[in-house]
Amino acid sequence: MTDKSNNWQRETDAEGIVWLTIDQTEASANTLGQALMEELDGILGELEAQRPAGLVIQSAKPNFIVGADIREFTHVKTPDQARELIRRGQAVVNRLEGLRCPTVVLINGFCLGGGLELALGCDYRVADDADSTRLGLPEVRLGIHPGFGGAARLPRLVGATAAMDMMLTGRSLSARAAKKIGLVDHAVPQRHLQRAARELIRTRPEKKPAGGLAALGNHALVRPLLARVLRKKVAAKACPEHYPAPYALIDLWRKHGTDKPAALRAEELSVARLVIGDTARNLVRVFFLQERLKSQGDKKVFTPQRVHVIGGGVMGGDIAAWCALRGLQVTVQDRNDGHLAQVVKRAAKLYKKKLKKPRLIQQALDRLMPDKQGQGLAQADVVIEAIFEDIEAKQNLYREIEPRMKEGALLATNTSSIPLQILGEALSKPERLVGLHFFNPVAQMQLVEIVTTPDTHPDTAKKAAAFTRHIDRLPLPVNSSPGFLVNRVLMPYLLEAVTLEAEGLAPKVIDAEALKFGMPMGPILLADTVGLDICLSVAEILSKELGVEVPGRLRELVKAGRLGKKSGHGFYRYDKQGKPLGTKAGRGEYCPPDTQDRLIARLLNEVLACLREGVVSDADLLDAGIIFGTGFAPFRGGPLHYIEQVGQDKLAKKMDDLHKNHGERFQADESWLTQEGRAE
């Protein structure tokens, strides 16, 4: 007997087991939308009457359920709407949990958010042990926490520590790790999934919640203590004013523990409150901005296999290592064996962290070939130049490699400061040159600026964006203007920090102000990390082109050999492991009240100038670029969005005050006044 609704397919086998298969129509992945939940509710109602021998839920797609349908979040406007949505979701999972027959869920691929919460409503969970299987509750990344019973059920099942770790970090687990903490009953090869389901239904083994030490954390006497530890851990990463969700989650668990009915109600209230809050709305906005960036590159237009990176410095080497990690065949060329050895060393470290299994690490290392002679050039589909910033050296290199490159291969430069027009002069076909501007550290910074000039062939830009998607980075098309987008916006902010330091503020005080705004790292520490010499050279280029004032303090430090983290001393001192010393700001340090405004105003002012000049094509892409390229406080939804939320008038007034008090560098960009270029 087969029965098919829009998203669910139902089949009853000879043993009387109902096999319920999710296959969302017209979607590449299953998301837990309202329609899908309502259909499931209907089916569960029928099953209550039908009394089958067992129920198995599985997916027909490569992924089980990738999470909630985030678009539905944006329709929720009031707390009541939110509560209604959550209550209905909870009711469906409760109904599933209440079925009299044994229920099993078979998990493959992504089983995230609401998908995992649905799975928690089943008696047994069996996961495919393939590397592609990931189980997690990443809600916290969207400014909320699990609401379909996940927060109420998970701590009881796997113990408080493991559950809170999953929900507070949003980190996902492999099938094997999930088995270890008791999240799934079996992690087996795909060929055994159905057999395992039948066996569980036949034998109905006792369901085991977390025991022993894992259960201890849920005890009413232990919870307050553990909650305090957890709050402290969270506080090291995010403050409650910016990111309330993790704190709310800890609170509701501390209050209700494994008392399911109470916890479910608390969960409903808490998520309803969070989901309509600014943080969640802005983080949802960031999610869609990320999707927007992803859509800038179409993988289908170009499927590169081989990448040749020229220049085995930190950037070149890390770009090469990243490409090999993402499955491409990579050669990395450098004349210096020592550089190449460091490339392999850093790559090995990255692969160990990301891939864990020795076999996978070996495969990735095999794909990354140090190539002193440049043997990989002729076969490469993508050639990335990442040598030192010198016009003549780059031009000479292009003259040498252009005739040896494969027909149709992409030639990209990672320059951060040289206009592509100038570099293109050395090429017989300048239309094939494009900028692929990665950020340091490559493995963490998702954004890649796709830099084009009027000479660049549209296909070249498309290929560059496609390549960026193939290596799972976010492409942002920008014009080849000085500093492109990210460096140009970042630099005035960094220089203002340097100026503040020169005025006598402690570096840690300046950084603390930026952190209070929600920046992931203070500007002084950031400058030290990037390297003060590099900051200076970028600043000088921008100063020439855009008239940005370079504080003498920066030159002074570079001259004194204080280059930042790499030299062990910049604004901060560093210990042998490269950890900065004395970054914690105490109370009562000298800090003028307009410190934070000065930092942020210069950034916002530059953002408006970039939008007005059309460095990127629209406001959302600009916000996306600044968030993913600089780490700009994601919970604020981007700089332009921030301006809009605070109000232009209010911020323009601040600009005027700063201009009066601190001089010309606070001259407001003309778009403050005209209101043109505001987000549409």
């Binding site: 065949q329 064996d337 190449l340 050895a341 392999v344 060393k345 095999d366 076969q379």
Partner: protein, 442 residues
């Protein structure tokens, strides 16, 4: 079918087509001296290190390779059929078969000979062949009584039974078996390879001073080759700890007769002459060559490094295995009607200085040639200025599975450099064999 064949009463005889075998390119790793503990690279990593750059510079894709053959004497426990492991890691398509050959010290040359046969018989057009050995990773085994004891231990159930088994454990059981040392001892005649070198040195009256002088010259020649950049076949290796290895590191530029003279004999103690200084070093390394048919050379416009003309394998008394080269080279020269002087360049693997010198002496010795090599006259004197011109096993090491491929590759590079035509590569083989390969450049 021709008209003649149609008329004939007999069916046509199947004619064996023999295709020419070209060597088109090759690469090797630096040879890294074993320094007590396992070296930075496993055998498979060495093979990949040599093969990866070699394949990267070709005009064809790794997927165009028809077959992979590697010589290896002692692959690691995770490297069963190491040729297949290397092939798949190098991105060679899974449809291309790969196999590993073992003929002790000549395994690398055996791989080339097997590859040449595949091409000559028309079974393959493009073969990746060579040899690899990570001697520093040679397994250390448990002694058999220990293995038996462990079996009892796992079987024992309960405290009493376990206590009984525990009592039967003897300290002697714990002594490990060093597979490398066992491998370098002939199991039939019970002699170490070094002892066989002592035997033939004694037979031809080769003294300590001659051995040491030969060893010193090997180091000097390698040093000169490194300085002039004549070892371009070496591909730098990079480990994951930030180190790189660009040259054979067994070279001792400060070697002198005085320093060699200080060394004590290793094998025949205390009166022998063969020392660590005049023997091949224990090393890790890999050498890989690309062999191609005429068709493949044309199809991908491959540069030809040389041609494998013929090979020969010979057996002899295991106690005198070091004389294997003359036993393998003599028939090969005869078959092609060549005199010693017709060979422009020689590579005879330096297992021991004494052993290379003994081969030279054997060819000069009328009685040896007549009685053992069955020639009418003495073969004559091999010109040492044409022999191992850039050093050999004594100075750069002898990773047993790899050396046979290394000497063929280097011989071709020497012929290319000197514009010469004909070369001979040969090795002695533990267990009493010799192998030789004749090469030519057009």
């Amino acid at each position: 079918m021709t008209d003649d064949e149609k008329k004939s009463k007999h069916p046509p005889q199947p004619r064996r087509v023999v295709h020419t075998v070209y060597v088109v390119d090759g690469a090797r790793t630096p040879f890294l001296k074993a320094r007590g503990r396992p070296g930075p690279f496993s055998a498979a990593n060495l093979a990949v290190g040599a093969g990866r750059s070699l394949l990267a510079r070709q005009s064809f894709e790794p997927g165009d390779i028809d077959e992979v053959i590697l010589g290896c004497v002692m692959p690691g426990p995770d490297e069963a059929n190491i040729a297949r492991v290397a092939a798949l890691r190098l991105g060679i398509r899974q449809e291309a078969p790969a196999w590993t050959v073992q003929r002790n010290c000549a395994s690398g040359m055996q791989a080339l000979d097997s590859a040449a046969q595949s091409i000559a018989h028309g079974r393959a057009n493009l073969v990746l062949a060579g040899g690899v050995e990570a001697m520093s990773h040679a397994p250390v085994l448990l002694a058999e009584p220990m293995v038996a004891w462990l079996a009892d231990w796992y079987k024992a159930k309960g405290l009493g039974a376990r206590a009984r088994v525990l009592r039967s454990l003897r300290p002697a059981y714990l002594k490990p078996v060093i597979a490398l040392l066992r491998g370098l001892t002939d199991p039939v005649v019970g002699l170490s390879m070094g002892q066989t070198a002592e035997i033939i040195a004694h037979r031809f009256g080769i003294g300590r001073e001659q051995m040491d002088a030969y060893a010193m010259r090997s180091h000097q020649r390698l040093a000169a080759a490194q300085d002039t950049g004549d070892l371009s076949e070496i591909e730098t290796l990079y480990d994951t700890a930030g180190h790189y290895f660009g040259a054979d590191d067994g070279l001792r530029r400060d070697t002198s007769m005085a320093s060699l003279n200080k060394l004590r004999p290793v094998f025949d103690r205390p009166f022998g002459n063969v020392t660590a200084g005049n023997s091949a070093q224990v090393t890790d390394g890999a050498a890989m060559l690309l062999l191609a048919s005429e068709q493949a050379v044309k199809k991908w416009r491959l540069p030809v490094l040389g041609r494998i003309v013929d090979s020969h394998w010979a057996g002899l008394d295991p106690t005198q295995m070091g004389l294997g080269p003359v036993h393998a080279m003599t028939p090969l020269l005869k078959r092609h009607k060549l005199k010693l002087d017709d060979i422009d360049s020689w590579e005879i693997n330096e297992a021991f200085a004494a052993q290379v010198l003994a081969n030279i002496e054997a060819w000069k010795d009328y009685h040896y040639c007549r009685n053992e090599l069955h020639t009418a006259l003495a073969m004559g004197e091999l010109d040492q200025e044409r022999l191992n011109v850039d050093g050999g096993g004594v100075s750069l090491g002898h990773p047993v599975g790899a050396s046979g491929a290394r000497i063929v590759l280097h011989l071709l590079r020497v012929l290319e450099r000197t514009g010469a035509r004909r070369g001979m590569a040969s090795l002695c083989i533990g267990g009493g064999q010799g192998g030789a390969m004749l090469l030519e450049r057009e």
